[in-house]
Symmetry: C2
């Protein structure tokens, strides 16, 4: 069981979580609980680090921000003991959860569960501080924002757990963001591949890395709410999804910016001249579209980056102008990416075509298109985001009855 920050926001909520864990123990389960920090704590700690120093030593950042999970781990162990459940807290260095030494964004390398499993035999619940690891350098590491999801999935894999329940403040995974699409439905099941696309296409319920970890280790993940008692969404292998939808869900991201280079010389090596410097600057490029050359000598190249990288990307490309050779640079950060996702696409033609017609019907212009085996993404003007989501939700027959 993994509980996020809103589920552990104060002492009352922590005691409520303890009741939920106790109920699971009383059903005869051996339980490990992974906890996030209280809502707001990590932000406060991170702000103190940035207020303290302009220079940013990620090793010290990790020492400071990992304190939040240490506090909730101890408190939840106390709350469980108070409700009659044997429990103890575990910090990453005590288990240990070993990671690489990439501070602030470390990867788990190995978890030794021997002590925890021995205590399972004595009926003890393990309360594990999420988000943290012990680095190869012997220091505390953290796994990146949302890293407690990864802690939970990695621990579930190491323990060979029957299931990894991720308790959050939403009821599960929906066909679309219910704050925008009123007719969105909660999915009972979704495949790892779909969830991975949903997470990386903007759905913020699970950290992307935790989903790929679950897929690689075949960990059955359930996303559910700690504020209700309803079933959530199971994230499972494709074999376990009986009725495969052509389209399972629609994701969006407003965190996009578009850059177009007009009349780029159409010669070998020009793509490397554009995208090499961007890669060197650690800027991820998402969609790339190269228009067909009309005169055989020049072409237009459009690509997208995250909004946070936008200004830096423009400056990098301008610096490379002499090597690339282009007439003009047009940029636009008022764009959004909308994606339809579903494993059923593999065996169904016409999915993309339906998307293009539905958007055309509403007069929504498509700036760029990107496809994968189980996803079609389009870039549109940001102001059309809600309209596009609702239209596509209806067009693919996803609306709740």
């Amino acid at each position: 069981m993994k509980f996020g920050g809103t589920s552990l926001a104060d002492v009352d909520r922590i005691r409520e979580v303890a009741r939920r864990v106790k109920a699971c123990v009383d059903e005869g389960n051996e339980v490990a609980v992974v906890v996030s920090a209280m809502a707001g704590t990590t932000d406060q700690l991170a702000k103190w680090t940035s207020d303290t120093a302009l220079l940013h030593d990620a090793r010290e950042y990790d020492v400071v921000v990992s304190a939040g999970e240490q506090i909730t781990a101890g408190l939840l162990a106390l709350a469980l003991q108070d409700s009659g459940v044997s429990a103890r807290s575990w910090l990453a260095w005590q288990i240990p959860i070993l990671s690489d030494a990439v501070h602030g964004n470390a990867r788990i390398e190995e978890i030794n569960c021997d002590d925890i499993e021995r205590r399972f035999d004595e009926g003890q619940v393990a309360v594990v501080a999420g988000f943290q690891g012990k680095g190869e350098d012997g220091r505390i590491t953290t796994l990146g924002r949302g890293g407690s999801d990864t802690s939970a999935v990695a621990l579930a894999a190491a323990l060979g757990a029957a299931r990894c329940d991720i308790y959050t403040d939403v009821e599960g995974i929906f066909t679309a963001d219910p704050r925008i699409v009123a007719k969105a439905r909660k999915l009972d099941r979704i495949t790892y591949e779909e969830m991975l696309e949903m997470a990386s296409q903007g759905a913020r319920v699970l950290q992307t890395r935790s989903v790929s970890l679950a897929m690689n280790h075949q960990v059955r993940v359930q996303v559910l709410s700690s504020f209700s008692n309803s079933m959530g969404t199971l994230v499972v292998d494709e074999d376990e999804v009986v009725e495969k939808q052509v389209v399972s869900g629609i994701a969006y991201s407003r965190d996009e910016a578009k850059i177009t280079l007009v009349r780029v010389a159409d010669r070998p090596g020009v793509a490397a001249a554009i995208f090499g410097p961007l890669a060197d600057a650690n800027i991820n490029v998402d969609i790339i579209v190269q228009s067909v050359s009309e005169d055989g000598r020049s072409t237009d190249v459009t690509f997208t980056v995250k909004e946070a990288d936008f200004e830096r990307a423009v400056s990098v490309v301008k610096t490379a102008k002499r090597d690339v050779g282009f007439d003009r640079l047009i940029s636009d950060s008022d764009v959004a990416k909308v994606s339809v996702i579903g494993v059923g696409m593999r065996s169904h033609a016409g999915v993309a075509q339906k998307m293009f017609s539905a958007l055309a019907e509403k007069g929504i212009n498509i700036h760029a298109i990107s496809t994968s085996e189980i996803k079609v993404s389009v870039l549109i003007s940001e102001e059309y985001t809600e309209l596009a989501l609702r239209s596509l939700h209806t067009a693919y027959g996803l609306d709740a009855a």
Copy 2:
């Protein structure tokens, strides 16, 4: 250098502490810094633990409350780096600072300074989280309230430090509490023995245990303010104090309660019958006075305990009434203990007599007396505390010019 919670209360104060440490480094010193939690943090964390659970597992309490020092250690390391000083934070388990497993009140057993000393050679400052240890059980321990003083002295001893500077919110050790005695003077030097009596007689500047540790390992401790630049008070060996005062200071404690057993049977074994059960109940008895038996058959016994133990002590003694045999129990918690302290007493007669006359002159009645080689303590009615302190301060010639 050790900094307390008020010296690290917020990011601005932490940056100010970094400037102070940098100045010390720039003078060519190798520096280890021990930090407390931000003022108020430990209280907040302790409150969360008591709000969460009625049962109190000290091991989980330690996990929660030790987080405060982890945060300030990381932040101070960042602040030092930001001011151009090489620094890293150290948690107890990383050094390690090994302790016994008496959670909530652990004792340091061993500190391995090899890593820290190696980094001194590279010019790096060690920022050490105070108050915490790694227990024999492999878990985090804490050293009791004020335990960061003990961390600092123990680390200074292990490093063979030239000095241990304890930065606090007062200017040093005074001849008496300056909030009560306006003419109190800051002492330039005080002996370990005197400081130990001052600390255990109510002066709250240093944790008692840290003073006895300093005495045992001959660590030169300086108590000084982080809010000014004046010299503090050096706590040193008696040999280093050239001009020994007969009386160096006057301490007081309002945290006292008196219990008198009237007409106790005057026979062998009666003291054991009274104080055995109190010891079994873990109640510390301070002053004990037995009046001279008038009839050769019965006597009155008076003793004092801390106010927190008062009601429990009364109940223990009442339960033991049959074994002890006494007429009546009289109790009074409105009492205070006033002590005059000075190593010079060893070679000067008449110190106690001067105390008794000075108090008699002001009409202050003495309920009980207790003496040691370098201290005379009297128990008086609490309402006379201020008057007694000021009169004694003048009588012993301690008033500032």
